[in-house]
C-alpha cells in the first residue's frame, strides 16, 4: 500500500511553558510535493519544522510520515533529514567527511562511505571540493555540501530551515532553481520554511501561510494570490490593495488597478504620494483625504502616456470583478 501523503500533521500543538507557539495545526502534504511554510517571524513555522524533524517535542497531536506515526520516534527513525539555517556543517572535518558522516555513525566501512559521499557531492556539483574544510567554501558552496549531507540519508522528506536567507539575492535565485530541480528529480517532498513570499511563490506546490501559530491558508501559490483568505494574507503576500469597502474588507491586486477611471468602476480619488519606476512597470501610491491608501502598478507605456508626480490629484480604479471579498 502506498501512502497518499508524505507528511500529515494532526492537531499539532507546541507549547513553551504557557506560551503557545503552534496551536493545533493540521496539514496534509501530498506525495513528492514542494511545500513552503510561510509567515512572519514568530508565526510558528520553524517550530513546526523542528517538530517534524524531531528536534522539538510535540506538546499535543500527531505527526505522520508516509502513514507512520512518528510523533515519538527519534529524528533518525523518522525518514526525515534537516538542513539547518546556517547549514551546521562540522567545521573540523572535510566536506567529504561531512557528507559521509551519517554513514560513518552507522559503521559503513571507510572506502564504501567515501565512494558514496563522492556520488552525492557529484549530485550537487561539489566533487572538486571534497577535501576542503567548510570554512574554505563560500555560502552557496556550503549549502550544496549541506544538501548532499542531508540527501545521502535517503530521506522521505527533506526539511529546510530558511535555506536561502544567508545568500545574496543573485545566488538566492540560482539556488532556488536548483532546489526545485533536485526535488523534482529525487521525487521526494521538501518542506521549506521561509519568510519570503517571493521564494514561496517561486517554489511551492503547496504554500502554507502561518500566523500566530495557526495555518491561515494552505493552497497552491496561485490560489493564495488570486484569493487570499484574509486581510493578513493579502497584505503579507503583497501586491494587493486591502481596503474597507461597502460589503466589508476587499483585496484588489495592484497590477489590476489603473490610474484614472471609466464608467462606474469602483475607484479611490486622492493625491499621489509616491511614484516608483521599476522598469517594465511603474508603481504609483495614492492616498485619499480620508487616509485610505491604494497602489496601482501600471505598465510603463500607460504611465508615460499621462505621467503623474507626487502631490498630483489621481484616481485609482479597478473593475468590479477584480475585487475579492475577504473573510475578515
Amino acid at each position: 500500500m502506498t501512502s497518499r501523503y508524505d507528511v500529515e500533521l494532526v492537531q499539532v500543538t507546541k507549547r513553551y511553558g504557557t506560551a503557545v507557539a503552534v496551536d493545533g495545526i493540521s496539514l496534509r502534504v501530498p506525495k513528492a510535493s514542494y511545500c513552503c511554510l510561510l509567515g512572519p517571524s514568530g508565526c510558528g513555522k520553524t517550530s513546526t519544522l523542528r517538530m517534524i524533524a524531531g528536534h522539538e517535542a510535540i506538546s499535543d497531536g500527531d505527526i505522520l510520515i508516509q502513514d507512520l506515526n512518528v510523533s515519538n520516534l527519534p529524528s533518525v527513525r523518522r525518514g526525515t533529514s534537516m538542513m539547518f539555517q546556517n547549514y551546521a556543517l562540522f567545521p573540523h572535518i572535510s566536506c567529504l567527511d561531512n557528507v559521509a558522516f551519517s554513514l560513518r555513525v552507522r559503521g559503513v566501512p571507510k572506502k564504501e562511505r567515501n565512494a558514496k559521499a563522492q556520488q552525492y557531492l557529484d549530485l550537487v556539483h561539489m566533487s572538486d571540493f571534497a577535501k576542503r574544510l567548510p570554512s574554505q567554501l563560500s555560502g552557496g558552496q556550503q549549502q550544496r555540501v549541506a544538501l548532499a549531507r542531508s540527501l545521502i540519508t535517503r530521506p522521505k522528506v527533506l526539511l529546510l530551515d530558511e535555506p536561502l536567507s544567508a545568500l545574496d539575492p543573485f545566488l538566492r535565485v540560482r539556488m532556488r532553481e536548483e532546489l526545485k530541480r533536485l526535488q523534482r528529480e529525487l521525487g521526494i517532498s521538501f518542506i521549506h520554511v521561509t519568510h519570503s513570499q517571493e521564494e514561496a511563490m517561486a517554489l511551492a506546490d503547496l504554500m502554507v501561510v502561518m500566523e500566530d501559530g495557526h495555518i491561515r491558508q494552505a493552497d497552491t501559490p496561485r490560489a493564495v494570490f488570486e484569493e487570499p483568505a484574509s486581510a493578513f494574507i493579502a497584505r503579507f503576500i503583497g501586491g494587493h490593495n486591502v481596503l474597507p469597502w461597502e460589503s466589508g474588507m476587499i483585496a484588489v491586486r495592484a497590477d489590476r488597478c489603473s490610474l484614472g477611471g471609466t464608467g462606474d468602476d469602483p475607484r479611490l480619488a486622492g493625491h499621489v504620494t509616491a511614484v516608483e519606476y521599476q522598469g517594465p512597470v511603474v508603481r504609483v501610491a495614492v492616498a485619499t483625504d480620508a487616509g485610505l491608501e491604494a497602489v496601482a502598478v501600471v505598465s510603463d507605456r500607460d504611465f508615460y502616456r499621462s505621467p503623474v508626480g507626487p502631490g498630483d490629484a489621481a484616481t485609482v480604479s479597478w473593475s468590479q470583478n477584480e475585487a475579492h471579498l475577504l473573510a475578515h
Binding site: H55, F101, S102, V105, F170
Partner: protein, 285 residues
Amino acid sequence: MMAGPPRSAADGARPWTFYALATLFTLFILFLYGPMLVIYVLSFQGPDGGVTFPMVGTSTVWFENIVKPGQMANIPVSFERSISLAALVSVLTVVFSVSAGLGFRRNFPGSGVLFYLAVASLVMPSLLVGFGIALGFRFLGWDTSLFTSALGAQLTWTLPFGLFAMFAVVNRFNRSWEEAATDLGASAWQRLRLVTLPILLPGILGLAMGAFTLSYDEYARTTLAIGPKNTLPLEIYALISSATSPVLFAIGTVTTAASFLLISITLFVIFRLQRRRALLVPKEG
C-alpha cells in the same frame, strides 16, 4: 567601505594623552618584567658573585648546582612532584569543567545555586581553604599528602576557574552542530566524540594549559595541605628563607623556561587547529 581604524583630522599628529598613556604603559611593562629580567641575568652570575649586581664574570655554575647532590637535592624531585600534580590537576579539571560546561547549557532546576556553590571557593581566602582541608584531614585521622589533600586544595582553585573558562568556550558553540549530528543518526556518545569534543578541542587545550599553570605555581592553598613532601614553589620558598645564592635565580630561569616552552607548544597546537578551521567570511559565488 570600512577600512582600518578612524584617523584624526590632522594625520600623524597624536594628542598628548597618547604619550602620557604610552609612558604609563612602558612603566607598567618595566615593572612587570624588570624584576624577572634581573633574575634571569643574575642567574648567569660568575662563581664568585652574589645575589646582587654587579656581575662578577659570567658562568653557568649555578645551573649545574641545581642538579648537584647536596643542598639542592630536593629541587629536581620537587619539580617532578609539581609536574605530575599539575598534570593530574589539569586532567581532572578538564574532565569536570567540560562536563559541567556542557551540562550547564541546560537550565536545570537549581543550576543557579549549584553554579554559585561551585565558584564560591574562588573568593574564599586561599590560605584558609588549605588550612581547612588540612584540619579536616587531621580531624578524620588521615595524613595530608601530595595526591590527596594537596590535590583537593588545588582543585578548589582550578575547577571554578575551569568552569568559567568553559562557559566562554561553550558559549560560542553552535547548538545546531549537535542537532545536525543527531539528525544524521549519531548516538549521544558518537555526537560527543565525533562532533562536540573535536569542535571544542582548542578551548579544551587552553583550559588544560590554564589549569596546569595554575597548579604548577600554586602556593597559598597548597602550603598547609601538602604534607611532608614539597612541590617546587614550596621548596623554593623554603630555600629563599634558609639560604640565598644565585642558585635560586637559576631555578627561576629554568622553571620559567619550562613554563614558556609548555605555553608555546600549547599555543602552537591551538593556533594550528584554529587555522585549519578558521571561519573565513563566506564569499558568495
